[in-house]
């Protein structure tokens, strides 16, 4: 079964959602992310949803769950690249995505994540601690 790749950028993790998510994939992503946050002492999780044509309450719940679990593990979650039409629809659906930060792109998202991630990203690389 396919899974969604998780990349490490400094002390942050980057997930790019490119496929139309089905249930198992969503569940697996949540589990994989949790493991990787602990493994890498990640301070932040960036979820790039610029490829998603819609976000329904199922995906909304997944994003909110990832944010809650990450917070417990001391990592921030930033959703990046939400399309304007998706944002409009989410508001009408009544999903404000509590606890989920958003940014226009991955670069700004990285900047939103704690100082460590920002410094490392600015230095271009960083795995010296």
């Amino acid at each position: 079964m396919d899974s969604i790749p998780i990349l490490k950028i400094g002390s942050a993790l980057l997930v790019t959602i490119q496929v139309d998510m089905h249930d198992q994939l969503a569940t697996q992503l949540q589990e994989d992310l949790t493991t990787r946050i602990v493994e890498h002492h990640a301070r932040g999780v960036l979820i790039d949803i610029s490829a998603l044509e819609i976000v329904d309450s199922f995906i909304g719940r997944m994003l909110a769950n990832i944010a809650s679990v990450s917070r417990l593990l001391d990592a921030d979650t930033v959703v990046v690249g939400m399309r304007p039409e998706v944002a409009i629809t989410l508001v009408e659906l009544g999903l404000g995505l509590p606890g989920v930060k958003t940014a226009l792109n991955a670069e700004r998202g990285l900047a939103l994540i704690g100082g460590v991630a920002r410094d490392e990203a600015a230095a271009g690389d960083g795995d010296d601690d």
Partner: protein, 134 residues
Amino acid sequence: MATTTETLAIVSGDDVVRVRQKVRVRATEAGLSLVDQTKLITAASELARNTLDYGKGGHADIMTVNDTARRGVRIVFRDQGPGIPDVALALTDGFTSGNGLGHGLGGARRLVDDFDIQTAVGQGTTVTIARWRK
């Protein structure tokens, strides 16, 4: 006049994805704006998932409506599941009998132009939605 109805079975999560894809094709063909397409597909996704999760599976009839007065897409979600005992409550944001957020049904209603729900306990649920080109 409703033309070329396509019926899809909804028995798995993959079918929910398929419903979204078919609705997108129809919505594009009908000339809905990007925002309107997104709203219709999102509503369809919510209702297809309810059909799967609560209706124990069912069908979606997707049709393009093209008459002198208007053009758009209508979708009928039908199941023979347990039905909804209190429709007003089910439409209330935040109400869920499962572990959802309870925004699906009420949200879907806000996202479309036409919304109709017929349900009877023990017999099933039929939800009809439509979105028209402006």
